[in-house]
């Protein structure tokens, strides 16, 4: 990381705030992203992810604070930063009444990409996105996943240094998500800095670093591994025929710091796993739930999130 520390940060956010009337959408947020990182913003709806992305993209001004991309101040020279930036808004932002090829042509021309390069890159990107066969289809007639991939193709038709993706894979089928991530990993190899927001925890785990955003503030910021290490307590997974009953049974038990229903399991965060297990088993047996099995597991990002913010804040 020494080389990254010496080069100007690809993204620098310094005490940025933005309010909408009474709502403080972003409050004193600061972080830096090194060139080539995949940086994730995670947080529940209304956490301020989109607002932050828009400020970085230079389409919304912050009330306070500074933002720089590649060392260039976004507020002082927004147009200069836009030359090296691609932004994919949360809402599909391409022209639905234009074909795939026409949208690509349009964005290539806005970024002054030469015709030969445009053809080469567009062929390469369409292949990577699995969209070769859809060149002449109207963007409005693509599936959700294909639309998002087209968005990425248009965002990459010039070579951005910073790529901003606001919930790019929300509502996207698993196959398209895989294509999507393959392209993102390929980009990272070539040194493009990626900042993305996501509602998917498995995606969050793939980021090199994560910022957990809640009510406009950053609550935690680190690599996924260290965030998990830093989670207070340890995690037990509880499996049984009626997970809800299991959860309710352990509510308020001594040593239990938190309970989270995860599909057919209950994640139990306890202060000291080995010491507490017998008492928890006994409590379940007393309520006729002796059939439940209990095992120590490593926490996921969602557990970290809930541990930090309380279960009401799960993204």
């Amino acid at each position: 990381m020494t080389a990254a520390a010496m080069a100007p940060a690809a993204v620098m956010v310094d005490r940025v705030s933005r309010r909408f009337g009474a709502v403080e959408a972003v409050r004193e947020v600061s972080f830096t992203v090194a060139p080539g990182e995949i940086f994730g913003l995670v947080g529940p709806d209304g956490a301020g992810k989109t607002t932050l992305m828009r400020i970085l993209a230079g389409v919304l001004s912050p009330d306070a604070g500074a933002v720089a991309l590649d060392g260039i101040d976004v507020r002082a020279a927004p147009e200069q930063t836009k030359l090296h930036l691609s932004y994919m808004p949360q809402r599909f932002g391409l022209y639905e009444d234009m074909t795939v090829a026409e949208n690509i042509f349009f964005y290539a021309t806005l970024f002054a990409v030469r015709a030969r390069e445009r053809r080469a890159r567009s062929a390469q990107l369409l292949a990577a996105a699995g969209l070769e066969a859809f060149s002449n289809r109207l963007a409005g007639q693509l599936s959700g996943g294909m639309k998002q991939k087209l968005g990425l193709v248009c965002a990459l038709i010039h070579t951005p240094r910073v790529l901003l993706l606001d919930e790019p894979t929300t509502g996207v089928d698993p196959v398209s998500r895989r294509d999507f991530w393959a392209i993102l990993y390929g980009l990272r190899e070539s040194g493009v800095t990626i900042l993305l927001s996501t509602a998917y925890m498995d995606e969050a785990e793939r980021c090199s670093r994560l910022a957990l955003l809640h009510q406009g503030r950053i609550r935690a910021l680190d690599t996924p591994a260290r965030l998990k290490q830093a989670m207070p307590g340890a995690l037990l997974a509880l499996t049984g025929p009626d997970p809800r009953a299991l959860r309710d049974a352990l509510a308020g038990a001594p040593g239990v710091l938190g309970l989270l229903l995860m599909g057919d399991r209950v994640h139990v965060r306890v202060d000291e796993p080995e010491g507490r297990m017998p008492a928890l088993h006994a409590r379940l047996a007393a309520r006729g739930l002796a059939a439940a099995t209990m095992a120590r597991i490593d926490p996921g990002i969602e557990d970290v999130f809930v541990a930090l913010l309380g279960s009401g804040a799960a993204p």
Binding site: V59, L60, G93, L94, Y95, D97, L110, G186
Partner: protein, 396 residues
């Protein structure tokens, strides 16, 4: 993952804030595609001028055919009946009733059973025979000044025609000279057809009104469409400049506007048979100037109002009311009270109405139209300046 080997990064070729013809044309290209694929825009661009030309053009020239006319024939002789018949035969009037008293005439007009009444005096034939002339009274309801003016013109034409024939007959019967002082006076009035003249006068105005409406409607959709469909956020995150957005969006509509103008002007000339005495260059230059004003106004509205429906309604309001009322295309400006006359100076179509009339009917060139042309130029400068400043690459 090895399939994703990326081509080397390229530096964008142009610096910031410089106008890039490529980006400008990219916006124009996109706009053309979108208009072509949007039935509503296409209808406004191509069908609205046609429909309005038919509606307004024929509205003007058809309404004043068959003006209901009552006849109060106090004499009821062969001559007087022939005179009454003449009014109807000309096609401009429809004899709605034959009445028997002044009282009945008043009542009929009050009931709006007729707009005008021809009153033939009881001694009509006798006075004609003895003196060669007789007064003929025509009463008009002046509520609708416009129709009345035109109807009076028709009536004068008919009367002139009648007296011309009667005079010729009188001259033959009395063996006198075929030309008398009175006849020479009347002669041009037969030819000077008030009705047609008013149509010549109004049709060029109709063209100006249509272009004002259609032009502002077209561009009022262009920026609001991007807001409404959510394409604006991504567009403003690119290096495109506000000037490129404006110019790129106005360009295609300018071409459509020129097409619409050509259609309307050709219809005025060949379908409504308005004589064209001017020159083509003057027409082209002034039309282009007017289109710039109109399109920039629509664009300005589109930037301000972020929904397509809202923008098109504001555009309609802003163009329709002042244009139809104050442009002078139907209501003559010099007959308006001074404050409203002053207000009409603000109404840009009035300049173009004046210009088109002068180019068509008087054959005026640019030099002769310096006043209204400068008015349009001033308007274009101000509106373009405002439009150029209106659009910001910001969501807030």
């Amino acid at each position: 993952m090895s399939s994703c080997i990326w081509l080397p990064a390229t530096r964008p070729r142009r610096g910031r804030d410089a106008v890039s013809p490529g980006r400008l044309l990219a916006i124009a290209f996109k706009e053309i595609l979108q208009v072509w694929r949007d039935p509503r825009s296409l209808a406004i661009a191509l069908l609205m001028p046609l429909m309005q030309m038919v509606m307004l053009g024929y509205g003007v020239s058809l309404d004043i055919r068959h003006v209901p006319l009552c006849v109060f024939d106090q004499e009821n002789s062969q001559t007087s009946r022939a005179v009454a018949q003449r009014f109807v035969a000309a096609g401009w009037f429809a004899a709605s009733a034959r009445l028997g008293s002044d009282q009945a005439v008043h009542e009929a007009m009050d009931r709006a059973a007729c707009i005008g009444a021809a009153v033939i005096p009881a001694d009509f034939s006798r006075r004609l025979d003895s003196t060669g002339g007789s007064p003929l009274q025509i009463v008009f309801d002046a509520t609708d000044a416009n129709t009345t003016n035109i109807a009076i013109g028709y009536a004068q034409g008919v009367v002139a025609l009648i007296s011309n024939q009667l005079e010729a007959r009188w001259a033959a019967a009395h063996g006198g000279p075929a030309t008398r002082a009175g006849m020479v006076d009347l002669e041009p009035r037969v030819w000077f057809n008030e009705g047609l003249e008013s149509r010549y006068f109004i049709i060029p105005g109709v063209v100006a009104v249509i272009l004002a409406l259609v032009g502002a409607q077209l561009t009022s959709l262009t920026v609001s469409r991007e807001w409404e469909r959510g394409t604006m956020e991504q567009l403003i995150s690119t290096p495109v400049t506000p000037f490129e957005v404006m110019a790129g969006k106005l360009l295609p509509y300018f071409l459509i506007g020129i097409f619409d103008a050509a259609f309307c002007l050709l219809a005025a000339r060949f379908w409504f048979a308005v004589p064209f005495r001017g020159d083509f260059a003057t027409l082209l230059i002034t039309t282009a100037l007017f289109l710039i004003v109109v399109l920039a106004i629509g664009y300005l509205i589109s930037v301000r109002v972020r929904s397509q429906l809202g923008a098109s309604q504001v555009a309609l309001l802003v163009t329709m009311l002042p244009t139809t009322l104050l442009s002078g295309y139907t209501f003559p400006i010099d007959q308006m009270p001074a404050p409203i006359r002053a207000l009409s100076l603000m109404v840009y179509p009035r300049y173009f109405v004046t210009i088109l009339r002068a180019v068509f009917l008087k054959g005026s060139g640019l030099a002769g139209l310096i006043g209204p042309v400068l008015g349009l130029v001033a308007y274009a400068v101000v509106v373009l300046w405002l439009a150029g400043r209106a659009f910001h690459k910001r969501l807030d």
